[in-house]
Structure formats: C-alpha cells, structure tokens
Amino acid sequence: MATRRDLMKLAGAAPLAGAATLAGGLPARAASTDKFVYANNSPYDNIDPHTVFDIARQATRFNLYDGLYRWVGNPPQMIPWLAESHTVSDDGKVYTFRLRENAKFHDGKPITAEDVVYSIERMIALKKGPASLYIDSVKPGTTKALDARTVQFNLTAPSAIFLGTVPDILIVNSALVRRNERNGDWAEPWLARNEAGSGSYALRRYDPAVGFSARRFRDHFIPFGERPFEELEFRTVLETNTRVLGLQRGDFQGVDGYMPYDQIQRLRGSNNVQIVEEESLRVFQFAVNTTKAPLDDVHFRRALAHAFDYEGFIRDIMKGSVARNPGPLPNPIWGTPKGLAGYSYDLDKAREELRQVKAPLRPITINALAGFSESEQAAVLFQNSLRQIGVEVRVEVSPWSVVSSRMRSPETQADLVPLWKSTYYVDPNNWVGELVNSRYHGTRSFCYYKDPELDAKLDRALAMSDQAERQRIYEEVVQAVNDLALGIFIYNTKWYGPYAADIENIRFSPVSNGQDLRWAQAHK
C-alpha cells in the first residue's frame, strides 16, 4: 500500500522541482542598457525593404536601411539623409540628387548612384509594397547615374508628391544583392532573409519565427547621440497581454504604440513604464462605398454622417484619448478649410436627410476589422444609432486581409468599413487625393466616387509646385468631400508609445511610428 510519503514523492514530480530550482529569481532582460528589446505585434517574416511596406513592420526599413531623404519628427519634416541636396528641373519632371561622400554600406562599400539606380529598378520590377508609389511616375530604365554621386530620376509627368515619397526608396548594396540573384529573381528570396543596407544598425541575427537583432553601425554617416543603444532586438509577440506584462516586467523596453486604450491605461499604472504621447496622422473613419444605392445618394450619406455619435464614441469608448477630426485630412496637416466643422450627431437632421432619399432603403453592411476593438465598437455603436432612424445594419467582422481583398472592387466592398488611413507620405494627397481621385480606384482608394471635376482638380494639384495654389485646391476638395459626405470622419489617432521609464529621446514620426530607434538612449 502506498504511503502518504509515496504520494508526496509522486506529486512533487519533475516540473515543480525544476521550477523550484529556479526559484532563486531570474534577472529581467532590462538589466542591460546596451540593448533595446522591442516587442511587436506583427511578424518580421520578411525583411526585404522593397517588399515590406506596412506600418507594423517598419523596423527593418528604418533601422537597417537608408533612403535619400528621411521623414523625422512630428509634425514630420523631411531631412537630407543619403542625399545631401537635390534639384528639380523647370518642367518638374527631372529630379537630380547629390549623394553624400562618406556614406558606406555595412560591408564597407561606398554607396554610389549605381546603387540608387539598382534599388529603384528593383522596386519597380518586383511590383510589391512601396512600388505602387512610383510605378506610374518612374518607368524602368529611366533613372540614370550621372556620376558616382549623382543620380537623376526622369518622371513621366510632373509630380508634387514625388519628393515626399523619395524617403521610401531604400538603397540596397547592388553588388551584394546581384551576387545573390538567381535566374533574374532580383535576389528576392535572399533579401527576404538577409540584409544589404547601410542603416544605423546592421543585422546580426534573424529568425522569422522570432524576429531580428542588429548591432549599431558605428560608421554610419549620421552621428549618433551620446548614449545610443549598441544592440536592437525586435521580437514578434502576438499576444497583447504578454507584450504588456513583458514591458512591465522589464523584459522589453518598448512595444507597439497603437494598442487598445485600455491596455495603455493598464500600463500607466506601472512605475517602470512611460507612455510617450504624440498626435499621429492617422484618421479613423468609415469608408463609404458610394456606388451602391442608397449610398449613391448624397442625402443618405449625409443621414449616415449625422447618425454617428462622434462625441459619445470619443468620450466613452476612446476615453477621451483622441481628438475629433472632422475631415479627411488629419488635423495637423494643411489643406483643410478653416472652420470646417464636419457633421454632428443629430438624429433629427439624419431623419430629415433620410426623407429626401429616393431609392428604397435596405439593410446596409458594416465590415469591421477583426482584432481591432475600436473598429468593432464603432460598428456596433453605429448599428444602434442607425436603427433609431430606421436603417437596419448587419455587422460583419473580418480580418484585414479579407476586408482589403473585398475593397479591391466596388462590387465586393462592404457599404461601410471602419478603418484608419495611415501616413505613407506627408502630403494631402495621401489622404484626400487617394480617397477621391479615381486614378486610385481599386488600389489606394476605398471610396469609388467619380467626379471628373474633382479628378481634374486633384490631378492639377499633383502636377504643380505652387504651394499656395495647391492649398487652395485641397481646401476646395476637402469642402466638397464634406458636402458630399464621401466618408464619415471621426478622429485623428493619438500615438501612445509604451516604453521603459528609463528610455529617453524617443523620436516619433507618423511615418516611422516610433520604430526608428537610432535616436533612443537610456538615462545616464
């Protein structure tokens, strides 16, 4: 017969014994001030700078690679980076950049105009990620290396936004990449797992299942601050709770800055965590599919715009953490007419507009984004208020991959989609131009409204360099978007960057979203 002692022996089996031996306590990762560990919610499954372009995975682009210019700070300013200057031809079609003399790749090879030419040709050939910014304006074979330090872009047409998109042309070491090409593949599989850049940090270890680590590139052409981190480690941690606990525990020094606000509030309670607050350029809105009745009727769209409880959503769901943004352009960006108030929550006005709708009403669909609580909450709130004016709503929740596929065509796009429009380049065209101009239908647009007059205005604004005239045009277009209710614009996102309390000099930019870490340093 087994005794109690036998039982205790069995119950105290290996795992607990193992845990007990470790009970001495483990040092948290934060012990080292030489290393910055960042926990991200998206996988670093590909580190090719010409393929990856989404906000969540920008760490590889900004830390391992350099562009000719770079967006920094908030509001974002474009500063010379690999290029020290540029000139534009009188017709606005020829951009000539002069490269720095002292810039080198991580393998020590000097960066030349040939590398710039190879990089833009590679982007256009791969037709992925950032290529959509150039595919119409830069044709293959048109970019020239005039000498080792001078590169010339010959655009198909004048473009007011080309310069603003230049920071996204990240330069790769052409000799190194060419050595790894196989059968004209532009070394795509190789560069997905290896690095050929000149950035502030050089890749040290990469594991798509884990993330990457990078060591500071001491020969970088831009001087570092007093106490830069010697090593960066970016890890993929899918579970939000694990990221939050890891930051509180000191395992991570930074986590992604667009967490649900309740998690930010949770982090505020930790003494060893700081929240860096910045107004971003990321407008939360309902995309409206204007092609289907009754949404093709301006009165129905206005009824919708009056039926969303903006203040209630910001006050009760967002806990007052964001500012109302009445138009398509983020508040800090020029191009919105002074005094644009947008729509207010007024169900009487909504009913009044609804009475003028000619087409019969039908249930409309809101396709919210799975995993983004604000998107789902906005959809449900809207569903409730629309019911009060007699509009039935079906809420569907799908992952972004499904939503974005549906948005490719007006036939498959849902009636309303609560989403964020982020910053890819800092120009009103990024928001209102891409929303309304029919040249972006099926690609960067999610409105499908077509008005030749608006198209002509926006095309003109794209081609001219007169800033005052551009501002006037965008103000007109923004007013028209408002009058036509081509979207339901709710708030401009605030970025709450959670970092360890002993980190300083985090420089947020709405383009790099706090992942450009060459400026960060630990307290003395």
Partner: protein
C-alpha cells in the same frame, strides 16, 4: 510480422487520407473571400501589380489546374513557397519543428511523470479521499482553458514571484544550432547561463500543456488499473507471493496502460501538430505560432502545408501507437 502488417495497413491508408485532406484544404482555401495576389502585392498595389503577382504565383490558372499542379508538387515534397517569408513551406516548418518538438517532449514527460503514477494511485485507492480529490483536480484540469491557465502561470511565476521568464524560448537568440533543440544545444555549448535560460524558459509553457494532458492520463490509467486489479492473472501473481509493489508496477500497470498509451499518442500528436494557443501566449517560436501567423496573414500555402503536416503527424503517431500497443499487449494486434 505483426509489426509489418500494421505498418503496411497504415501506409495503404496514408495516401487516400492525405489526398482527401488535400482536396478539402485546397477547396476551403479557395472559398475564403481573400485575394492572395493582392495580399502579396500589398494593400496599395495597383491592378497591374496585382495581376503580375497573380501570374507569378499561378493563381490566374483554372482551379483544377492549380490543384493538379499542387498535388504534383506535394508528391515531390514541394509544399510551395510562403507568400510572406518567400521561403519553401517545408523549410519554414522544418525550422520551427525543433521548438515544437522540444516543448512537446518536455510536456509529455511531465504529463507522463505525473499522470501515470497518480492514475495508479487512484485506481489502487478507489473511492478514497485521494481518488475523489484527484478526480476533482483532473476534471478541473481538463475544463481549464489553456490560455487562461497560461496567463495565470505567467502572472504568478513571472510577475508576482519573478521565478521564471514570461515568454520566449531563450533570452535573446539561441546558441549555435546543432540539433535545433535549444536545451540540448545549450548543453553542448556548455555555457551555464544559456542552459539556465533555456531550461527556465520551457517550464511554464510545458506545464501549461502538461497539466491537461496529465489529467487525461490519470483518468485513463485509473480506469485501466481498476480493470486489471480484479483480473485472474493479478490474483494469481498475488497468490504466488510476489511483493505488492512488483504486482502493481509490473503486472497491473502493464495491463492497465494500453488505453493510456493510446491517449499518450494522441496527446503527442496534438502537441506536435502545434500547441497553437500556448505557443502564441508564451511567444514560443514553434509550428503552432507559425500556423496562427499564417492564418492571420491568409498565407494560403503555409496554411495548407501546416494542415497537411498535421494530418501526416496524426497518421504517423497512430502508427506508432499501434506498434507500441502491439508490443505491450500482442493479443490485440493479432
């Protein structure tokens, strides 16, 4: 001969099983309202960009052509290329297999070390306080959601007590890969700090996986013991004067363990196919976490590859369980 029969029988069924799985997975992946070409090209890609990617990936061809091509590729061991990592699926899975295998082995060891002895004790002390108490514990263990258990363990052992790491497989990146099993590689490396880091990181995820598995094994072992203990052969062994310890741990256990081994095989297969939730919560870079990422990103090829992998693992594990049972109790195999 018995083993050969079992192996041949299982192999004959392997092909239609996997083919059926392939058809279902392929059709399901094409029914989902997602355009993979658009995903790969990027959310802002132009129609020409998307079409170029579609042609490059072969998604422009008729569905039957795509399927036949896919089956042919799989038959040659080519599961396709991940839409996101740009690497062959088999390479992606192989790279993550050691992490999952290591976690599975440790979890199964813990589950076996706990489950079988406790199951025997429950069986020997039927309806005692020990039996009732453990029944409550095992039912609770089965009912507890793994993500909840994982978070509670994280909260207690990492946040409150600070004894164990919160997540990850090791501090930073693992040592030079020899076997891919980090604990083993750390032992080969010989650095005590790395060994300590590797061992401490596996404790919480392994226990999270092991506790429900141990609960299953307690219940099956207990039932097996109850069935065996009244058998004539045990009565004979006892009458022959063998020591009780020997009767229990040699003869009773041998008869009782057949069902437990079946469960053990199933648990091993489930865990090896990817402990999806636990790997995600603990940021464990294994096959389960890969599956989650692939699903979230709608990486068709990766999801199909993972599903086939899961099917193959189950067929293989069933085969091994049959062989093990034939060894323990040859009567059943005849």
């Amino acid at each position: 001969m018995v083993w050969l029969n079992i192996i041949l029988n299982r192999l004959v069924w392997l092909v239609p099983t996997l083919l059926g799985l392939l058809v279902i997975v392929f059709l399901l992946s094409r029914v989902v309202p997602i355009d993979p070409a658009r995903l790969v090209a990027g959310e802002n890609a132009s129609p020409s960009q998307i079409e170029a990617v579609r042609q490059q990936l072969g998604f422009d061809r008729p569905l039957p052509v795509q399927f036949v091509r896919y089956v042919g590729d799989v038959a040659r061991g080519d599961f396709g290329t991940s839409l996101f990592t740009q690497q062959p699926i088999l390479d992606d899975l192989s790279a993550r297999l050691p992490a999952t295998l290591e976690l599975t082995l440790v979890a199964v060891l813990i589950a076996t070390g706990l489950g079988i002895p406790l199951g025997v004790l429950c069986g020997l002390h039927r309806n005692s306080w020990l039996d009732h108490g453990l029944r409550i514990v095992t039912v609770s263990g089965l009912a507890v959601a793994s993500f909840w258990l994982a978070m509670q363990l994280q909260f207690l052992f990492s946040m409150k007590l600070g004894w164990l790491p919160l997540s990850g497989r090791i501090e930073g990146f693992p040592p030079e890969e020899v076997t891919g099993l980090v604990i083993l590689d750390a032992l080969i490396d010989g650095d005590p700090e790395i060994i300590r880091s590797a061992v401490s990181h596996i404790v919480l995820p392994a226990i999270t996986l092991a506790l429900p598995a141990a609960a299953t094994m307690v219940r099956f072992t207990r039932n097996g013991v109850l069935g065996a203990i009244d058998s004539p052969s045990v009565a004979y062994q006892t009458a022959m004067g063998y020591p009780r310890r020997q009767v229990v741990w040699k003869y009773v256990l041998r008869m009782a363990i057949t069902a437990t081994v079946t469960q053990l095989g199933l648990i091993f297969g489930i865990l090896l196919a990817g402990a999806v939730v636990v790997e995600t919560v603990f940021d464990w870079p294994g096959i389960g976490a890969y599956a989650v990422r692939s699903i979230l990103q709608s990486d068709y090829n990766a999801v199909m590859g993972f599903t086939l992998w899961t099917g193959a693992i189950f067929v293989l594990v069933n085969l091994l369980v049959d062989l093990l049972q034939a060894t323990i109790d040859p009567r059943g195999a005849r």
